[in-house]
């Protein structure tokens, strides 16, 4: 029913009488009405993949959500190690590169006498790691700067709303979540011998929810 621009409306008898064209317009409206009245609305959040007779393309937001595209820079997370501690070694690279200066780190030092194995290979760890999510401009430079793959923005969410400004200042307990990540090059997994490792190396780019 596309309109044909090559027709001259002033010479078309239907356009001159006007009533037939009005009836055709009504037919279009009626068809849409009936399809949307009787057709079950598919609530698939990706609208283009919707099936069924209904032509409605609305996404009912709080109940249905369009998934963020891959590569979306979501809320930060501190990536945990297998043992649950953050991978972060408090090198200050992210805090230095951050153009909004929203990352604040205080480093602690491993006691060389500590019996834990990583104390031999890692010098520092963060005692405080704070990101002010209100200041953050979500540029993703911290993720790129991190030499240890310790900070990621792969949570596919945005910062949830809070009642106070202080609520947007995320500390280690709030930031440390998601699946743990291990690389074979991690110093705390450096092997003394050439035997195969006892634990399985996870795929390095694991996203939340994929395991």
């Amino acid at each position: 029913m596309a309109y044909d621009a090559s027709r001259n409306p002033s010479q078309d008898v239907r356009e001159r009488i006007y009533l037939p064209e009005l009836l055709r317009g009504l037919a279009v409206t009626t068809r849409h009405f009936l399809r949307n009245l009787f057709g079950q609305r598919d609530s698939n959040a990706s609208v283009l993949n919707r099936k069924g007779r209904s032509l409605v393309t609305t996404v009912q937001y709080p109940e249905e959500r369009v998934a963020y595209p891959p590569g979306y820079r979501g809320l930060h997370r501190l990536v945990p190690r297998e043992d649950g501690k953050p991978r972060c070694v408090a090198c200050y690279m992210c805090a230095t590169v951050c153009p909004a200066q929203c990352i604040y780190i205080e480093a602690g030092e491993y006691d060389p006498a500590d019996p834990s194995p990583e104390s031999r290979v890692i010098e520092k760890f963060p005692t405080t790691f704070v990101i002010d999510e209100l200041r953050c401009i979500v540029c993703g430079l911290c993720v790129e700067a991190c030499p240890k793959d310790a900070i990621r923005m792969d949570t596919a969410t945005h910062a949830p709303s809070e009642y106070t400004r202080q609520g947007f200042v995320y500390d280690i307990p709030k930031l440390l979540n998601g699946p743990p990540v291990s690389h074979s090059s991690d110093p705390w997994r450096r092997r003394e011998s050439s035997e195969p490792p006892e634990h399985q190396v996870l795929e390095p780019h694991t996203r939340i929810g994929e395991t």
């Binding site: 090559s6 001259n8 239907r14 009533l19 409206t29 009405f33």
Partner: protein, 451 residues
């Protein structure tokens, strides 16, 4: 559960509600003979017209959403255990809207004429509401050994009441525009009054053909005149072509519908108010006074649908099978069942025509103001006059109305043929000049016209 099933169930529920209310109307009027008219006023006008009109406020939002591939209002919920999870088709928004209207500030502009400012919504609402008084909703039948007519008033002047009262509605709008002490509102009121006055002529002429055909101005007689069949195909099942106004007077119907649309000031003709952009005659109104204007618009829609049904769609009569239905054993013994069925049919037709008006509103673009006046005076008025003369001649020539019906069917056929005919119709275009006739063909045609 399937959505079609839910919709069919809702429709059946509405039908049941209409039928039981009409049964109450018949029996109430029969049981209380002294207050029979009061019962009918309450049930027909206060219950039916007001409920349909107020449901149309939500229906307009919901139906327009469906026509435009949206969902429409569905956020208002009733906080009860079972109902909490269902939008109920958006109907709770009705209550929300009403509460909002009632609790908004009742603003009166400074230096506005307070009396007229308060009077205008009443004047806009009252006449429209009163129009329904002459509409026959159901047949006049014997219930409990008493003849019960299902119409509030049957004045001798019939349709003339319609014209007289409908023209009163213009006072409401022009007073609203004038008393607001606002130039833009005044201009809106002037636009409204000039538009309504221009279309009243066409409105009157459109119905003259039907008055000639049935030689009456009484709506009950017009309705019963349409019950008979022009050509009967089956005596037993009472099948045939009914003498409905749409068959006899298709031009009259189009003229009447258009003119009445202009009277209701709805979208193809909504220059006086213009929901979204033009500032209309009720800019200064807020709260329930604005609500009065709005609800009077919807009451007008219902009344227009009822008048069109009565005059052009056979009123409460079924198109066929009514005689067969009336001879069934149960219905022959209890004629009130037939009355309830027929009056339910009437309300179904009214609701369908209300839907048609809303569909028209959401389909057609608004006319320019000069187009409105040109349509009224240069198109509708001559067409109405011609229709009156042709109909009169045909009725004189063949009083059985069959000639009128043949002409009417030919008119319907021409419009249907023009409407259904496919896109491939380039005969009249100057497209032979170029192989792919896009815009050049159009410009070429117009320039050659200037030569």
């Amino acid at each position: 559960m399937g959505r079609p099933l839910i919709i069919v169930a809702a429709m059946l529920f509405i039908l049941g509600a209409i039928a039981s209310l009409m049964g109450m109307a018949y029996f109430g009027a029969a049981v209380l003979p002294s207050a029979g008219r009061l019962v009918q006023i309450v049930i027909l006008m206060l219950v039916f017209v007001m409920v349909i009109a107020s449901l149309l406020t939500i229906a307009e939002r919901k139906w327009s959403a469906m026509m435009q591939d949206r969902i429409g209002p569905n956020r208002a919920r009733i906080d009860l255990p079972i109902l909490r999870d269902s939008a109920l088709g958006g109907v709770p928004h009705l209550a929300a809207d009403a509460v909002k209207m009632l609790f908004k500030e009742d603003f009166v502009p400074r230096r506005a004429n307070g009396f007229l400012f308060n009077l205008a919504p009443i004047l806009a609402f009252g006449p429209v509401f009163a129009l329904f008084a002459i509409i026959p909703v159901g047949p006049s039948i014997r219930v409990l050994d008493r003849e019960v007519p299902m119409v509030i008033a049957t004045p001798d002047f019939g349709v003339l009441f319609l014209f007289a009262i409908a023209s009163l509605a213009v006072y409401g709008t022009s007073l609203a525009g004038w008393s607001s002490n606002n130039k833009l509102a005044l201009l809106g009121g002037v636009r409204a009054s000039s538009q309504m006055i221009s279309y009243e002529v066409a409105l009157g002429l459109a119905l003259v053909g039907m008055m000639i055909a049935f030689s009456t101005v009484q709506l009950p007689e017009l309705t019963d005149g349409q019950a008979r069949h022009l050509w009967q195909f089956s005596q037993r099942f009472d099948l045939g072509l009914p003498a409905w106004g749409i068959v006899l007077q298709p031009v009259g119907f189009v003229l009447f519908f258009t003119a009445a649309f202009a009277e209701t000031k709805r979208t193809p003709f909504d220059l006086p108010e213009g929901d979204s952009e033009i500032i209309g005659y009720f800019v200064e109104y807020s709260g329930m006074k604005f609500g009065m204007f709005m609800i009077s618009e919807f009451v007008e829609v219902v009344v227009l649908a009822a008048v069109s049904t009565t005059i052009f769609f056979g009123g409460y009569h079924l198109p066929f099978g009514e005689g067969w239905l009336a001879r069934r054993g149960l219905i022959a013994d209890h004629p009130w069942i037939l009355g309830v069925i027929l009056s339910t049919v009437f309300w179904i037709k009214v609701i369908v025509l209300c839907w048609l008006q809303l569909a028209v509103r959401w389909t057609f673009p608004r006319f320019r103001y000069d187009q409105v006046q040109a349509l009224g005076w240069k198109m509708l008025l001559p067409l109405g006059l011609a229709n009156v003369f042709i109909s009169g001649a045909l009725v004189l020539w063949d009083p059985s109305l069959r000639a009128l019906a043949v002409v009417g069917l030919i008119e319907i056929g021409i419009v249907a043929a023009l409407t259904v005919r496919g896109e491939g119709h380039p005969a009249k275009i100057d497209s032979a000049a170029g192989p792919p006739p896009s815009l050049p063909a159009l410009t070429g045609a117009s320039t050659s016209g200037h030569d």
